[in-house]
């Protein structure tokens, strides 16, 4: 007999707040202003131990790369204790080979949610959302395999014409000769439509998925964002809505969408509500934030590198290779975090059991030791597929082929329609050391 999930608003009271909240104020460098030039100058010469690279400041200004270059050269495995009363301190792993060593050693480097999970800031101990990315084997393996078929090659082939039709429709609806926000009109629009399809979620309410994705990764400390308890309430509301879908589908014939797949698979059909919520958050963020920001990033990079844009127009067959280069250059998730299960040595540094280890994909993707001219965006880069953005090892991105397909179709259709799309001002960036992306990017398609 299949399990019906309970309405969690009734069965689960909201947490009463945790000891660590609110976090103590962070220390920031004393600088005359926070424009990117000033921040970069500071990062070029500041003592390495004085910088807390988890501070959103370095991300909304896109200045973090200066610090990572120094870490790769001077201290490739480096412990940050600045502001450790906020994050307990963490190891920065910045070179390609060291990130690979951590990512492929799940026996030592755990993803377990109750140890803090997979992001630099620990999962709230009073609001643990188990999800398969934040599990170790064997439970990780069976839950991941429950959803894997939706992004199998065979399934993707079935989605291709749908993705193309929608992409055409969205692009054909764009205004000419006027300024608009590419993030909203294209990046969010396309990814939310895809996500609604994957979940069997009503298309007309697709922006709710975007909203929940943003809430899941939002920093409760930043002005304008919901605070911690409000955020938890919103996510419980999401759970309630999805629980209704679950209950409809659990006793019906399988419909091939993610909710139905989770409801019917023996590995996931008896998940407690918080685990269902955790896996929803994982799949929504995984399918939304990441591709969204690569869609925005690609256009931005081509504008910054007009010779590459020319190369692309002259040879549209480069799209497929360019897609991998966009994903490398964007690195939509800047890091993944692990927790050491035992004392271990990495890059000559002794890491203690319980230490937080942050793999900076964004830095590994710029590692001069393994990549030729890594700072440059080169659409016909040889072996462009060899990038770090999907992670490696057992937690490697499950939707990577879908992401590539969405981006490939988008660029094929853009090239058929528009000679040039101009980014008219610097984009607004997400202030996060995890989601590396864009809030807003104004563009114009010449009339």
């Amino acid at each position: 007999m299949a399990t019906q999930l309970q309405d969690t608003r009734i069965t689960q009271s909201l947490p009463q707040g945790s000891v660590a909240w609110p976090l103590p104020p962070r220390t920031r460098p004393d600088l005359p202003n926070h424009d990117p030039a000033t921040l970069e100058q500071y990062l070029r010469s500041a003592p390495l131990e004085e910088v807390d690279i988890a501070d959103p400041l370095w991300w909304e200004t896109d200045t973090n790369h200066v610090y990572f270059k120094r870490l790769r050269d001077e201290a490739p495995v480096f412990f940050t204790s600045q502001n450790s009363n906020r994050h307990r301190g963490f190891w920065n792993v910045t070179r390609w080979n060291d990130v690979m060593a951590v990512d492929t050693n799940h026996q030592v480097f755990s993803s377990e949610a109750t140890l803090g999970g997979i992001t630099l800031f620990d999962m709230d101990p009073d609001f643990i959302m188990p999800m398969f990315i934040a599990m170790d084997p064997p439970k990780h393996d069976v839950q991941r395999k429950a959803v894997n078929p939706i992004v199998s090659g065979q399934n993707l082939a079935g989605y291709e014409s749908l993705i193309r039709e929608r992409t055409q429709e969205v692009l054909d609806g764009l205004p000419r000769g006027e300024v608009f926000d590419w993030v909203d009109r294209v990046s969010i629009e396309l990814t939310s439509r895809m996500l609604a399809t994957l979940f069997g979620w009503p298309q007309e309410r697709r922006r709710m998925l975007t909203y929940w994705s943003d809430i899941s990764t939002s920093d409760p400390e930043l002005p304008g964002n919901p605070g911690k308890e409000e955020r938890q309430g919103i996510l419980l509301g999401m759970l309630q809505e999805f629980t209704m879908l679950w209950n409809e589908r659990v006793n019906a014939e399988p419909t091939g969408d993610l909710v139905s797949m989770l409801a019917h698979n023996p590995a996931t059909r008896n998940m407690p509500p918080m685990e269902f919520m955790g896996n929803l958050v994982l799949l929504i963020v995984g399918g939304n934030d990441t591709t969204r920001n690569s869609i925005s990033g690609g256009l931005y990079f081509l504008n910054k590198n007009p010779a590459e844009y020319d190369k692309l127009r002259a040879n549209p067959a480069l799209v497929e290779n360019m897609v991998s280069e966009i994903i490398r250059y964007q690195t939509p998730l800047a890091h993944m975090r692990r927790t050491a299960l035992q004392d271990t040595v990495l890059g000559g540094q002794l890491i203690h059991k319980g230490d937080k280890v942050v793999m900076w994909y964004v830095s590994a993707n710029r590692d001069e030791r393994v990549l030729d001219r890594p700072e440059e965006f080169i659409i016909d880069r040889p072996r462009a597929r060899q990038h770090m953005s999907f992670g490696f090892g057992i937690h490697r991105c499950v939707g990577n082929r879908l992401a590539e397909l969405q981006l490939k179709i988008l660029w094929e259709e853009i090239l058929k329609r528009f000679d040039k799309i101009e980014v008219v001002e610097e984009p607004e960036r997400v202030p996060s050391a995890f989601v590396r992306g864009y809030k807003k990017m104004l563009v114009r398609i010449p009339a």
């Binding site: 690979m100 991941r144 894997n148 199998s152 999907f390 082929r401």
Partner: protein, 106 residues
């Protein structure tokens, strides 16, 4: 050089001469054999060089490593004779070996 025959899921065959000691993922990527991507560069850290080894060749190709096994186990298309091509180094004993690919991999 060792002659390896990469067989796509649709039956298309690609004969490639792989230098002795080189891994079979590299042998495919360097010769543009479709269907083998080698995204991780040969670390058994993805499964984009997933292939099947016919039973008569299993003695010369050896066993999966622990890491390789973990990656293969997560693939929808895993079979008992699944291997990652990057973990097999070409040797003279493999002359004429066929290596079969799944329909897709990621």
């Amino acid at each position: 050089m060792v002659k390896i025959i990469y067989v796509e899921h649709n039956g298309a065959r690609h004969e490639v001469n792989v230098p002795e000691g080189e891994n079979l993922m590299e042998g495919a990527v360097q010769n543009n054999v479709p269907g083998i991507d080698g995204d991780c560069g040969g670390n058994a850290a993805c499964a984009t060089c997933h292939c099947y080894i016919p039973s008569e060749w299993q003695a010369v190709t050896g066993e999966r490593s622990e890491q390789e096994d973990a990656m293969i186990e997560l693939a929808d298309t895993a079979k008992p004779n699944s291997r990652l091509a990057c973990q097999i180094k070409a040797s003279a004993a493999m002359e004429g070996m066929e290596l079969h690919m799944p329909a897709t991999q990621h």
